[in-house]
Symmetry: C2
Subunit: 252 residues, 2 copies
């Protein structure tokens, strides 16, 4: 008899090669799977995830799935995984027994990311590794205006990493809000799913608008070009956080 | 000719022995003074501060003062200090030429601190070093009620470190608010000045109220006892941030 669990994860992406197992360093997947294996008498445990994140990208509300050969109360599983994942900056906030046939990636209805730019001369001291530091003034209003051109269903080839393995470049972007809060520029985005590097490429291109290098309407031209070279550079991972993912019925 | 500058500092207290120079490790004062010395041709530069902070305590809006034998434009001084303080988690956010006779400590009219408790089972991943992790549920409403007994002018001997060097234990506490925001309990406090460890000792005692070990009114008894042993333990430095300090006229 096996039990499948849904896990609500928080992690600090610094010092990890990303979610996925890599030969060149420690991944979040490895930390979680090794902890889960301790609970499976040393047998290997495979974890699936709602949305893979790259090296340096953080998560406040990532969702993962593991299957164990035993029936642990969810809160005991949470505490045990957190114990074995110490001292790594990965924790399980909550655990639920997963519904029959549920998968964190294939059943995800909506994913949310947040990207934070620190827009001031001084580099970050308190937020190092958690923001993209832009010392020159950015115009958040123009960025918000440019962002609106990306909303809706489009071919996002211009904002897709060369390494992206998705079959189709078509995605429906439901939200891409840009607002200033003091020295911070906060970008919040929502979609059923995103292409690889899509958020970081959208942010890197909006930065051109914020800096006055591009007019807001050039976001539409970049999108229409369906050519990665027509959009701006990829923003660094530091400012990006996977915020949450929705399921129907809700898991957490 | 010398020029005195007011500096608005941000720092991450982790890895420092605190503001003040110590033989056993690196202090924020040392990082700042060594950077300032580079701008003084190697001559020693002494920095004064609005409020000394202990090892592990952070600052968002600390104010310091340095005097240099030269007249640098404030924004150039900021950029130069930030350059020389790399890669330490200390930055100068802003610089002003100080008013005649001004001192960051003696002219401070009001200081603000924030203390953040992460109140959930899972240890912090994203906020490690920046919160006090309390896995057992705390009642923020009871803590807020208990906090009100400390407002006003009192002898704060019960909340004062043995090492405190202030002449008088009398202080006027103008604000001590406790509120819950999700898994966070946020404590904000304001006074003209605080005794050594006063904020951390107030928080450590309020935690007893939040946990139901103490009734809110026992805060008044602890205060009236004028005995450090009558109050609760010192909360860890991680959750504490020096937020801001007021001057008249305003400096920043």
């Amino acid at each position: 008899m096996t039990t499948t669990y849904a896990l609500l994860l928080e992690y600090d992406g610094r010092g990890f090669v990303g979610w996925q197992m890599q030969p060149n360093g420690l991944s979040i997947q490895q930390v979680l799977e090794e902890a889960a294996s301790r609970l499976a008498g040393g047998a290997p445990v495979a974890a699936a995830i709602a949305g893979r994140t790259d090296a340096g990208v953080h998560a406040e509300g990532q969702v993962a799935m593991i299957t164990l050969d035993r029936d642990l109360p969810p809160q005991r599983l949470r505490d045990a995984l957190n114990f074995y994942m110490k001292p790594h900056a990965v924790v399980v906030q909550d655990v639920r027994v997963a519904p029959e046939g549920w998968h964190p990636r294939f059943n995800a209805l909506r994913r949310r990311y947040r990207y934070v730019i620190l827009n001031r001369r001084a580099r970050p001291a308190l937020e190092a590794g958690h923001v993209w530091h832009m010392p020159h003034p950015l115009e958040a209003g123009a960025m918000a205006e440019g962002a609106r051109f990306l909303l809706g269903r489009h071919d996002f080839t211009s904002f897709r990493a060369a390494s992206c393995q998705a079959k189709s470049p078509l995605r429906t972007l439901d939200r891409l809000d840009v607002r200033r809060d003091g020295f911070h520029i906060i970008i919040e985005t929502e979609a059923r799913s995103f292409l690889h590097h899509q958020v970081r490429n959208m942010v890197g291109t909006l930065k051109l608008v914020g800096a006055g290098v591009w007019e807001p309407a050039q976001m539409a031209e970049a999108l229409a070009a369906r050519d990665r070279a027509a959009a701006g550079p990829t923003a660094p991972p530091d400012g990006l956080t996977f915020m949450s993912v929705d399921y129907e019925p809700a898991i957490f």
